[in-house]
Symmetry: C2
Subunit: 354 residues, 2 copies
């Protein structure tokens, strides 16, 4: 920033009557330099009077650290989660007095390589490479040239440290909400997209059933696009079957919103006639539905924080081995889960008490 | 970034058989230096072979520009709009080969002053000060020390350039959707919070009525908290009156979501029995409702872009006067607006054709 009348180290030296070297030693707290307490106070006071700020840019050249962390993401704008992920990363950076430098590639691999270059030119201390939904990625080549961590993504070969949500554990905990309430015929409206969440959330659903000794029934699962529309269609398909499920587990909150609309269409009251659990905890949706949606939260803030903390550790210890973290996805209880309805229960066989 | 085996200017000089000064002149395209085409090609080739990147940090010290733009925000995570605002800012920064350095204050004025300091220490070329909803702000003192632009905010005294959404124009256009469809009894579920949007969206509502010669009726307006719950309560109040409105204009999409729930409660079909228009275009909500919500979009991407472009202009011309921009809020048409219902119309008097 071109400052109006910015004070230089020379001004501080003049005002305190010492050399610029002494000023530098005092203000940078250089160890092993004998400087009297009196001089120290005089210099500090002069610096404060003049609003003097040391030039971090010049400091960066000396220490080989800039305190800048590159944050390179693909589709920053396509999810409302971006903010929380960035905030977690910012807060962790702030703990180390570092700043995030943000770049967005729009997902284009060529652009990504150029952006990694741009960050390296700025001498960032390391790079967080962030996906805005859990993905398996081929990171840009340039990331190999220094400390880097993958956020909400894992690399094809495990070369980089990475952090992803525990989709299986979250999904299992979500379905267990329904099992514990007494449901045994639990429909699963899954996401049809070929992404890790699809198979991992299914794995969690199956694990939960297994714990409760409920056999997996293929006719209780449908796959649709991850939108309210897809959730509506999927729920209608399951709820129109002969043996209607008493509860639905939906792979995303938007799909759960569609399931609410299907329940409305069929005059089913939630949770009296139908219980619903979602996934994501998209606050705008989950909290706004009527009744509030019980769902599983994606830990975006925690993942952002973990990624930067891990990166800072790697900056301090560049030869350390990559670490891979799974962050828990906690259940957020609202009002969409109740016991199975008697009317419907008759169709699906006697449920065992939880 | 501590690079493994990073090439220096000395390596390039050695490989191309010229001095480091010549390498610097060639790679920085210093004007007025006579260098043969042959040398130029040799140096450029050597730099490419060695993956040499000039040290932008050192360049920054020479040119007094770092190509870094500070982006200081208050509550980055509380709205799903953050992503689009940041993306617009990033894209505009990229046009000028600049990068955003992100900082989040959580809205604490003391933290803000410190963060402005941190950005100034990093020698950013200028600062965007972003609010995540349209607010009147007292910017940090530190902003006065260099180029700065307020984003989604205006300052109390107009000292800084600023960009905000055209709330009045957007609101007017939204209400005109209903008037043009033939509605004359249009309820307004306004936000009760003391923020600019409240008075400005009301002004737009009144302007639209005036254009169509419809007198403002105070009994058609309620104010509630800007949530689905608030929208539900407000809509229930208006729809339970003696002269029920045929349409509702809701100050936010979440409130409109609550109005949908009220319509469901009262067995009113949208848009057959009741038309609804929202504000914000929160894609997750507006697009997921059934039927899709006609609403007014907040131009977050465009505002982010404008702020950085304006900042870049001010960096080039520090003595220029502050500029204040209003960015249009376009109507997004979906399926929630239709002609007034005959059954209800009888109560509210004969509508005039549009």
């Amino acid at each position: 920033m071109e400052l109006r009348g910015r004070a230089t180290i020379r001004d501080v030296a003049e005002r305190s009557g010492v050399s610029t070297t002494t000023v530098s030693h005092v203000l940078n707290e250089v160890p092993g330099k004998r400087i009297s307490e009196q001089t120290r106070v005089r210099v500090t006071q002069a610096a404060a009077d003049l609003h003097y700020r040391p030039n971090k840019l010049a400091q960066g050249l000396r220490t080989q650290r800039t305190g800048l962390i590159g944050f390179l993401s693909d589709h920053v704008s396509t999810t409302p989660f971006a903010g929380r992920m960035i905030l977690g990363a910012q807060d962790a950076a702030a703990e180390a007095a570092s700043l995030l430098v943000l770049l967005n590639s729009g997902g284009d691999p060529e652009v990504e390589e150029r952006e990694v270059e741009a960050l390296l030119e700025r001498q960032v201390d390391g790079i967080v490479y962030a996906a805005f939904y859990h993905r398996v990625v081929t990171p840009p080549q340039g990331l190999r040239r220094g400390p880097a961590v993958l956020l909400d993504a894992r690399g094809v070969d495990g070369e980089f440290s990475s952090v992803i949500p525990d989709e299986v554990g979250g999904s299992r905990a979500g379905v267990e909400q329904l099992l514990a309430a007494g449901h045994r015929r639990i429909g699963f409206v899954n996401n049809q997209d070929d992404i890790p969440a699809r198979t991992l959330r299914l794995a969690g659903y199956r694990q939960a059933l297994e714990v409760y000794g409920v056999p997996f029934d293929h006719s209780l699962m449908v796959e649709r696009e991850p939108s309210a529309r897809g959730g509506f269609d999927g729920a209608m398909a399951l709820l129109s079957g002969i043996e209607m499920p008493t509860a639905l587990f939906c792979a995303t909150d938007r799909m759960a919103m569609g399931a609410y609309q299907a329940a409305q269409e069929l005059s089913l009251s939630i949770p009296r006639d139908l219980s619903i659990v979602g996934f994501d905890d998209q606050e705008l949706v989950a909290d706004s539905l009527r009744p509030g949606l019980t769902t599983v939260a994606l830990p975006h803030y925690q993942m952002g924080q973990w990624a930067v903390r891990q990166l800072l550790e790697q900056i301090d210890a560049p030869e350390s081995q990559p670490t891979h973290a799974l962050i828990p996805c906690p259940v957020v209880r609202r009002e969409s889960v109740g016991p199975p309805s008697r009317a419907v229960r008759g169709l699906g066989g006697e449920p065992q008490p939880a």
